[in-house]
Symmetry: C2
Subunit: 376 residues, 2 copies
């Protein structure tokens, strides 16, 4: 009778119609039939990315698109500001270093969001900074950054703002064009309810201009070539055909729900999840909690034991902490295809596992807290 | 009643069990369950690559693995020999140029295979050449190269031999370790009966040593990191989980058939296909025809019209010529999940389309020729 449930911040569960699409016979990618599919995907992605600009589809996981947004926008010895408040901010720094891009690193405490004033100060002090690399939802700490405020600083300067929205897209509010974000990167296995293997990158006019002068090495990830193919609803290299076909199914779901409705729904789920976890003695780890994933710490219990027990004995996969946070937090995702019922089911098992581990909790208390918060 | 059939040299049709695997619920990639799946895939790939060395799995299409075998093995201003006898040889040259690698380009007529003596002469003349980049099956001309002879020249020199076996692997004979090939690159959507989106790269000891000194920029495609993860049946970045799960199904099929049996079977199919096409007035384009795909030219008929008519009216996708060969050849794949019955079905439609286009052919003649050759 054991079922398995994914409550991890990527991969997250596949939508039903996505699974059906994945099992379809493969079609050739240089045909009118596939061109139409790609065209539909391009349109749907614009909606989810809240942009009228091109959103390119790459056949790789999210890190590949992150790399592309460094290797295509900058040149050797250019200077970039990277904001490091977790594992994925650190990844921006590492990618820049790999390409000989000089980084000004704004280190912030894990679980906090960057102070826009500090970003402004750094940009004033170093007018030679060409790009700011940051994160919508820092998955490792379940923290959402104030991208709107950051964009209000970068948009009228000669600097690009590149946002890793790999885990945040679809749940955490992101108004790319309205706020003036230049580049947004995302992946398939989070809010888009697909298997991993696709990534996406939106480029506004300012970013397109930067493609022309970049002298860093690239081939497979050449965005200049990808953009040229995009104009013709094509790809420079063989695309992940089956994932693109399935993508259109998840885009349909998001369109039908409405992106803004989904943002509101995930906000409600996130806040109810926070209330529920507090009821069980957890503290919410982030000072600026994301709507995509909730991280919570607890005293006196190794959180890795909770994660392991939930997966092994009950089939429920939640995430633990990464790197410095290993053993210190649990992370429960509410993104993509995960809805409020899934979280309630997950909490019921979390309660059981905490009790098994000797914690003194009242069975049912977190579910009640969730319901009270969620139904208002 | 119209069915659709893929007879193109990638993507080629999906095996039945592969389709079922693709529709499965996604599992998390940092679990014992996925580690076991990856371990099985690593073992199975060694068998298909005819090697005891590691075969790394990358989440990208084949070009990404080609790029990785340049950016990880060479350094800026290194010199490489590239053999260009078609579109995919040209790709090696382009990738090298993107990375500031100097290329010695051995241009050969499209449809011919390189003369190993000429390669030996070039290596003797330029002892500073660090690597030879070539192709098992040059898909654009359906030509197989004599990798055994080339490896016999490179194996005892201080030079790496890197073979693009993207379309050839599984059909054209390739004995990686026995012949002394250092690096073999392949992709998922040809002989491996999967959708596009995965690529593979095998590295022998000599190649592993080269990883240490390469100074070209890389991050997502870092083979040093991939190799380190591989030792632990893990991946540095999120893998294409569903494709890896499906890969094990196709590896099972190849193992059950036996790789050598499949080589022999595709040889029979290739030779019967050649006979059949000659019967219809085609000439075989390649002087060294591959077992993976057959290219054939015909006088007085635009081959693009054949390809279009077969696809639009009968649902059968074959390929035309690329670049310089556009309109001049047709290409029929016999790789992966395509078997002799599929080719017979395809020939029957080809006959009908040729007749529709006004060619004077005898209906049934190519099928008979195929059967006679195939059943011996």
């Amino acid at each position: 009778m054991k079922h398995t449930y994914l409550m991890t911040p990527g991969p997250s569960p596949l939508a039903g119609p996505v699974k059906e699409a994945l099992a379809k016979d493969i079609i050739h990618h240089r045909t009118d039939e596939f061109k139409k599919i790609l065209q539909e995907a391009h349109q749907g992605l614009k909606y989810v990315f809240s942009t009228d600009n091109p959103v390119l589809i790459l056949a790789c996981s999210g890190t590949g698109a992150m790399e592309a947004s460094v290797s295509n926008l900058l040149s050797r010895n250019d200077k970039a500001l990277v904001i490091v408040g977790g594992k994925f901010g650190q990844r921006w720094k590492d990618i820049c270093s790999s390409y000989g891009v000089e980084t000004v690193c704004m280190e912030i405490n894990w679980g906090t969001s960057p102070d826009p004033k500090e970003i402004e100060r750094i940009l004033n002090d170093s007018p030679d900074i060409k790009a700011v690399y940051t994160t919508l939802c820092e998955t490792s700490t379940a923290t959402v950054y104030d991208i709107k405020a950051i964009a209000s600083i970068t948009r009228d300067r000669d600097v690009l703002l590149i946002v890793d929205a790999i885990s945040g897209l679809g749940q955490d509010v992101l108004k790319t064009d309205e706020w003036g974000v230049d580049v947004v990167v995302s992946g398939s296995q989070k809010g888009l309810m697909l298997p991993p293997g696709l990534s996406f990158i939106s480029l506004n006019r300012k970013a397109e201009v930067a493609l022309a002068t970049s002298n860093l090495a690239k081939y497979y990830f050449s965005l200049k070539k990808a953009l040229k193919s995009y104009q013709n609803d094509d790809t420079p290299y063989t695309p992940s055909v089956s994932l693109v076909v399935a993508l259109n199914e998840s885009l349909k779901i998001i369109k039908e729900d409405g992106l803004e409705n989904r943002w509101k729904e995930f906000q409600k789920i996130a806040q109810a999840t926070q209330d529920a976890l507090k009821e069980l003695g957890f503290s919410i780890f982030s000072k600026s909690p994301s709507f995509s994933v909730t991280a919570a710490a607890i005293e006196g219990i190794d959180t890795q034991a909770i994660v392991k027990k939930m997966r092994k004995e009950y089939g429920i996969s939640i995430a633990g902490g990464q790197d410095a946070l290993k053993g210190k937090i649990i992370r429960i995702a509410h993104m993509g295809y995960i809805n409020s019922q899934d979280v309630i089911m997950c909490l019921s098992i979390l309660e059981k596992v905490l009790a098994d581990l000797g914690a003194s909790i009242e069975i049912g208390s977190s579910l009640k807290a969730f319901q009270e918060a969620y139904y208002g």
